[in-house]
């Protein structure tokens, strides 16, 4: 298998970072190059999806360092997509933006590095390399959370990097314990940290050790995924970061953390059966859903609102993973939908923030009159997040609840539906407050930089497509993923 797709996928973000470092940000060429390299990365990811659908499993590296199966391909596509959007719509030196050239440069460099580390994380075959990449995502993203230095953003970035790094360190404890078990049985091997090898040897691993390892892994990567009770950094970091970064973090970083959990769950299920991991996942997922749904009621800032919604959806995805193969399918479909919807929402909210100058929900009103396209997209995204048709989330949420009932967890699903109803009401109330009513005085009307709306409209369209009928390639991809994730 040639190395070309791998190079295109992974080298583009590196080149983009180098280019942003070297070229002056004011040059038109710099932004074009940046966006172009993002697009190349996306095309490479789509190529991987095509290869996987054809039945290949591309690998690269002497000790099979990189390996792309269905799960990796799907997540790589999501990451590359959001990264490309961020490259296109991120902080620019336009008339409406208020960033200095230094800030724009810093954003471009580190967001490209951020994208690179996420891509490495999902395509690495080695558990250790995946860990290194995920830790690096914390570092790369934390640098640009305080892009504009205010007391709030400094506080948010500090909490993020501290809690995130501590969580990842705990995940490393779990990784070491897993490797320890392997070493105890088989002895030291160079390739022992590969997923394929771990999975193959899973049935003979000692149950108590693997269970302990999984607890650490879940707590560790769960911190990055935003699962309660380790979620306290998320609302702060996602609301204080620049909108493009929030889109990347909420849209795909949480998904990458969930990817790590899915991989390890497959190993643990092969070792000790599915009861133990499922119980833990249900516990954490339900707790996250509850805390998020109840917190949504009292939110006063729209970006924080979106952040809590991310926690809610991550909790749902976590729950789905524990509900058998139907649940895994629903969970992964939900992942794709959430990526599209949440990133679109954050980009839209970025435009709202630029126009209205305030992050408070109370200060934003008459959105449909002031910015019809952005307002419409915001409303569409919110409706999508609520789980209403014709958007994709409706299908995935429905599939998830159905999987729950099929798995015999009726009471659990009833609780989930109740919490979703709470979230529904609060989100809808906040949305109404923002969309309608008189516009504040002195706000300029009309869209600025109209072409920037186009990619967001594309997102919305994709959501609708996923909502009406999931295209066959995606269904097939998801079926493969269900096999990978174990029963």
């Amino acid at each position: 298998m040639t190395a070309a797709p791998f190079l295109a996928l992974l080298l583009s973000p590196i080149l983009a970072a180098a280019g942003a470092l070297v070229l002056p940000p004011r040059w038109r060429a710099a932004s074009v190059l940046h966006a172009g390299l993002g697009l190349i990365s996306l095309l490479a990811a789509l190529r991987f999806v095509a290869l996987v659908l054809d039945g290949w499993t591309p690998t690269w590296g002497a000790t099979v360092l990189f390996r792309v199966d269905a799960l990796s391909a799907l997540l790589a596509a999501c990451v590359a997509f959001v990264a490309a959007l961020a490259a296109l719509l991120g902080p620019r030196l336009g008339p409406d933006d208020h960033y200095t050239p230094a800030q724009v440069r810093r954003f471009r460099v580190f967001s490209s590095l951020f994208a690179f580390t996420m891509l490495v994380a999902v395509t690495a075959n080695n558990v250790g390399v995946m860990w290194i990449a995920i830790e690096a995502t914390t570092i790369a993203s934390a640098v640009i959370v305080p892009l504009t230095v205010t007391k709030a953003s400094v506080e948010a970035s500090w909490k993020y990097i501290l809690i995130g790094s501590v969580g990842i360190a705990l995940a490393f404890v779990g990784t070491v314990l897993g490797y320890f078990d392997f070493v105890t049985l088989v002895g030291q091997r160079e390739y022992a940290l590969n997923w394929t090898v771990l999975l193959a040897n899973a049935p003979v691993l000692h149950p108590p050790v693997i269970q302990l390892a999984f607890v650490f892994i879940l707590i560790g990567y769960g911190t990055k995924a935003g699962l309660a009770p380790m979620h306290t950094w998320l609302p702060d970091a996602h609301s204080e970061a620049p909108s493009a970064l929030s889109a990347m973090m909420s849209g795909v970083l949480l998904a990458v953390a969930l990817y790590a959990i899915v991989r390890w769950k497959a190993v643990v299920t092969a070792a000790v059966g599915h009861q133990f991991p499922n119980r833990l996942l249900i516990g954490l997922g339900l707790l996250s859903l509850a805390i998020a749904a109840l917190s949504l009621v009292i939110q006063r800032q729209y970006k924080r609102l979106l952040a809590y919604s991310s926690i809610e959806h991550t909790g749902l995805m976590c729950l789905g993973l524990a509900l058998g193969p139907l649940g895994v399918f629903a969970s992964m479909l939900h992942l794709v939908n959430h990526t599209l919807a949440k990133s679109m929402m954050f980009f839209a909210s970025g435009r709202i923030l630029d126009r209205y100058g305030s992050p408070e929900i109370g200060r934003v009103s008459g959105l449909l009159r002031v910015m019809p396209w952005t307002g419409g997209l915001f409303a569409a995204g919110m409706i999508a997040l609520l789980g209403l048709p014709p958007f994709g989330m409706f299908l995935s949420k429905f599939a998830l609840v159905r999987a729950g009932f099929a798995d015999g967890k009726g009471w659990l699903m009833a609780a989930v539906l109740a919490l979703l109803a709470v979230a529904f009401v609060s989100l809808l109330a906040h949305l109404n407050r923002m969309l309608y009513g008189p516009a504040p005085a002195g706000i300029r009307r009309g869209e600025s930089g109209g072409w920037a709306v186009v990619p967001l409209v594309a997102c919305a369209t994709m959501l609708v497509v996923l909502g009406i009928a999931v295209p066959a390639p995606i269904t097939e991809l998801l079926d493969r993923i269900v096999e990978i994730a174990g029963r």
Binding site: V173, T184, E240, R304
Partner: protein, 219 residues
């Protein structure tokens, strides 16, 4: 080198590493904390070298040298520079007072012993005897991060957590593959540098590194 001697040295080295961690709960000054971290890194490097000698694995010697260089010399130098800026800010009143912190630390070590009992019973390596202490340091580091109020102390707690995991790895598995090891080093070093930048930023924005000041974002 007989396995019994290796067992004893493992427990000895792990005890030193854990004691340095407990010293973070006991002493209050920034310089004492940095000294404790340096001592801990040196003890960790020594333990790694000892395991390397026992197994005859040259890679472990390289890892020990890296540990000494990065965590025993490099990071303490940077920390000392920070201490000169913020050294006058002593950890006056942590959330939990010293005597109680030490007792909680002891309880955490006992808890770690309970948690790692399956690990010790499963393994055949002579170095497995030190693993409960390494896990104890994991818990103690978490406690340090939660209960201390100065951002600098929290950074030190994180560095100690990384030391604990490195110790766990070397005692339980006689070293993880070298690529991963180097990657971990880079990660920790980079993470520390970024945290350092953040502490300076906090100091500039809030005029102190007291984490209690970071309370603007609620709900």
């Amino acid at each position: 080198m007989s396995p019994e001697l290796v067992s004893q040295l493992s427990v000895g080295g792990s005890t030193l590493v854990l004691l340095a961690g407990l010293a973070m709960l006991w002493r209050r000054g920034v310089r004492a904390h940095i000294g404790a971290f340096t001592a801990q890194s040196v003890a960790l490097a020594a333990t790694t070298a000892m395991v390397g000698w026992f197994t005859g694995d040259w890679q472990l010697w390289a890892v020990a040298a890296l540990l000494l260089l990065i965590k025993g010399v490099g990071i303490p130098i940077l920390l000392a520079r920070m201490a000169r800026r913020f050294g006058t800010e002593r950890e006056l009143e942590p959330y939990v007072n010293t005597a109680t912190s030490l007792l909680v630390g002891g309880l955490l070590v006992l808890l770690a012993y309970l948690v790692t009992a399956p690990l010790v019973s499963v393994s055949q390596l002579p170095t497995r005897t030190g693993m409960p202490l390494a896990m104890g340091l994991v818990f103690v580091s978490l406690f340090v991060i939660i209960s201390r109020k100065k951002a600098l102390t929290q950074v030190l707690g994180f560095l100690m957590l990384e030391n604990a995991v490195a110790l766990l790895a070397v005692l339980g598995t006689h070293g993880i593959p070298i690529i991963v090891e180097i990657g971990v080093f880079l990660d920790v070093a980079l993470g520390f540098i970024v945290m350092q930048v953040f502490v300076y930023q906090i100091h500039e924005t809030f005029e102190s590194i007291d984490v209690e000041q970071l309370n603007r974002l609620r709900e």
